[in-house]
């Protein structure tokens, strides 16, 4: 009898100690967040800047004790800006590295190939600057941190065409051109929707291979059609190539630009310098409206010094704050739901507003920002290749949306060169 009691007590004690040890071990295991990021290849400059922002977030969270009592660990691989690497990379993250959560790498081209796997595994998928990726997938656990708005394809290009239709006399013809890649295709799709809505005549609608060396034949072909507007959707190398070619050819049109990836970052801003005068583009921030983005200063204070040391975008106005904000959304959802249940996380993210370094964020039903906030701007008065001028007001006029507007389009485009 006594022996049985002792045995029972010992068993209970062992069980208790075992459970306690298991609990402690679990608490000591880091909370792993996995993703692919473009650390080499054409978008590596942007990818590395985003990675630094995410690392700063992880350090901040760990300094406060981590999440759910566990240290946060970022597990990431280089996707080489190559969409074909993405499915395998996320399979490895989920099956081999056993990450608890996943987020996306930077850009449409690497988000889209991750989607089927995310849907198969029912993961809540927080993504970074993908344009209209969920329009085809319609995945209810997809979320996107770029402020493109609930109808991204159309909202993305709305600012360009709203500014164009404010011209007097109104434009009647448009040339549409972009790279043969995921993002430019989606942006051009949106542009075509506006062209149809506004009754503009398309005189040129073509794409080019991303590895084109000389863009001047393309610009000359566009010039031969004499369009009132030229809408361009491009990635960094071709943004530089098209802007240079437009200057060399002496492109005569009323508005040029719209969807150039690249001039948001210090590298292309300083390298192209005065060649950007007159170009219309999108930006997430402009020094002229600094007062309306007070939250950004908190992030830049953490980011800029480190970015200079690591040789990536020293401005950090565009992508890095949103990469940090993406992780803040995840952090707040985990804290609020008290766990890692993917359904609960997704449900919370759909329901509540988030307070982040890029301001208040609320998601629409399709996972996009409920209200668009991307700025349509025009560059002007750029006098040299120094970076300082881009940090001061006076060179980036905000044309759209109206609540941030600081001026109107200066047209025609070529007159801005004088």
């Amino acid at each position: 009898m006594l022996g049985n009691s002792v045995l029972t007590a010992l068993t209970r004690a062992a069980l208790f100690i075992g459970l306690a040890l298991t609990g402690t071990a679990l608490a000591q295991q880091p909370l792993k967040i996995g993703f692919g990021m473009s650390l080499t290849g054409p978008l590596a400059g942007n990818g590395k800047a985003a990675l630094i922002a995410m690392q700063i977030w992880a350090e901040d969270v760990n300094a406060k004790g981590g999440l759910l009592g566990r240290k946060v660990e970022l597990v990431y691989y280089d996707d080489q800006t190559n969409p074909s690497t993405v499915p395998g990379l996320y399979s490895k993250l989920l099956d081999v590295d056993k990450v608890d959560l996943v987020v996306s790498g930077y850009g449409t081209a690497v988000i889209a190939p991750a989607m089927p796997l995310m849907m198969q595994r029912n993961m809540a998928f927080m993504t970074l600057f993908g344009l209209n990726v969920n329009s085809k997938f319609k995945y209810d656990r997809y979320f996107q941190i770029m402020p493109a708005g609930p109808d991204p394809a159309v909202d993305w290009t709305r600012g360009y065409f709203e500014a164009a239709m404010a011209l007097n006399p109104k434009p009647s013809t448009v040339a549409l051109v972009g790279a043969d890649a995921e993002y430019p295709h989606l942006a051009l799709e949106g542009a075509r929707a506006h062209v149809k809505r506004l009754g503009l005549k398309v005189v040129y609608d073509k794409t080019y291979p991303p590895n084109t060396v000389d863009y001047s034949p393309i610009v000359r072909a566009i010039q031969a059609t004499n369009p009132d507007l030229v809408y361009l959707a491009s990635y960094p190398p071709d943004s530089a190539g098209m802007v240079r070619a437009a200057n060399e050819v002496g492109l005569k049109t009323r508005m040029f630009g719209g969807g150039l990836v690249g001039p948001q970052f210090a590298a292309l801003k300083t390298q192209l310098g005065p060649l950007l005068n007159g170009v219309i583009n999108y930006e997430a921030y402009a020094p002229d409206i600094n007062r309306k983005f007070p939250f950004l200063d908190q992030f830049l204070a953490k980011y800029q010094g480190r970015a200079v040391k690591e040789g990536v975008d020293p401005l950090g106005f565009y992508l890095p704050p949103y990469a940090y904000a993406m992780m803040q959304v995840l952090e707040q959802a985990i804290k609020a739901t008290g766990g890692l249940d993917q359904a609960k996380l997704a449900d919370y993210m759909h329901t509540y507003e988030f307070d982040t370094f890029v301001g208040k964020v609320r998601f629409a039903k399709n996972g996009e920002w409920s209200v668009p906030r991307m700025l349509t701007v025009q560059y002007h008065g750029i006098g040299g290749n120094d970076l300082e001028q881009w940090m001061k007001p006076g060179h980036v006029t905000v044309l759209y949306p109206s609540e941030y507007k600081t001026g109107s389009v200066k047209a025609p485009y070529h007159e801005n060169k004088k």
């Binding site: 590596a44 043969d180 084109t212 001047s216 034949p217 960094p236 200057n247 050819v249 292309l268």
Partner: protein, 291 residues
């Protein structure tokens, strides 16, 4: 689309300028692959290395990138000679050059790329030159100096290589080793030494072509991969081992790209270029000027 004279002339000029640049990129492949039978798939990696050296000196001291590349070309020559030695002793001498040699050069390409990423980061780099943003105009025809200057230097380099190969003893030895290394050995010449120096010359041209590239467009460490197909296509189209053929092949592809972009849509340019390559090989398997 209306075919105006100005548009036509501009398409021709743009095609020729582009072809001149392609010739500079490919002349080294014409030597290593066309003459020496060394499948140097890392050639674009050395072009990018040349771009970065031109960039560093231009950024720090303001020197012209093309002048810098010509100045440091002896270093590329030495690098090429050393690389061939490694390749020869590790693969060629053992008769393992086909697949393992290819893997070796792939490795060199990736090592170059990663070394550049670790040293300079992943941002695009550009150089500033006095002529970079200047366009000389003759009526409605434009001559962007960003392309004209590399074109002129490229012509001097490619024609110089051709004259060197046909008018010097060493050059003729290179041509001989391309045809029959055994016969060369029987005549008392060491074909390995000849191949080493010829390979070194090919790498030296890559360094100079790298400066052209960064004058023409921004460069990042991985951009070399995009030119692998192009440099081999130019070499094969022109005729293996023919420098004049390489020049002709480069002009054909440059003009094809320019005309397609101007009149039919730029997305067709690669298809038209490689279609031309296939059609040429169907009727002339040895290339335009190949024997």
């Amino acid at each position: 689309m209306e075919i105006s004279t100005a548009l036509l002339l501009n398409a021709i000029i743009a095609g020729l300028l582009l072809g001149g640049f392609y010739a500079a990129m490919s002349v080294g492949i014409s030597i290593s692959f066309g003459m020496l039978d060394v499948v140097n798939i890392a050639h674009p990696g050395f072009i990018i290395l040349g771009s970065y050296i031109a960039y560093i000196v231009n950024d720090r001291f303001g020197f012209d990138p093309i002048v810098v590349s010509l100045t440091v070309s002896p270093l590329f020559f030495l690098l090429g000679a050393a690389l061939y030695r490694v390749y020869y002793y590790s693969f060629e001498r053992r008769g393992q050059e086909s697949l393992r040699g290819l893997a070796f050069f792939f490795g060199i390409l990736f090592i170059t790329e990663v070394a550049l990423v670790l040293t300079f980061g992943v941002d695009y780099r550009m150089v500033s030159t006095r002529y970079g943003d200047v366009t000389w105009r003759a009526g409605e025809v434009g001559f962007p100096m960003r392309l004209v200057v590399p074109f002129l230097v490229s012509m001097v380099m490619v024609i110089g290589v051709q004259l060197f190969l046909t008018h010097t003893f060493f050059g003729r030895a290179v041509l001989a080793v391309a045809q029959d290394p055994l016969a060369l050995r029987l005549m008392g010449v060491n074909p390995v030494r000849v191949k080493e120096l010829a390979f070194a010359l090919s790498i030296a041209t890559a360094g100079v072509a790298g400066a052209f590239l960064i004058v023409i467009q921004p460069v990042q460490p991985a951009i070399g991969r995009e030119f692998i197909g192009l440099v081999f296509a130019v070499c094969v189209l022109g005729g293996m081992g023919s420098i004049w053929g390489t020049l002709l092949g480069a002009f054909v592809l440059g003009l094809a790209e320019s005309f397609t972009s101007t009149y039919f849509g730029p997305s067709w340019a690669p298809a038209v270029s490689f279609g031309l390559l296939l059609a040429t090989l169907a009727f002339r398997p040895s290339g335009l000027l190949g024997r």
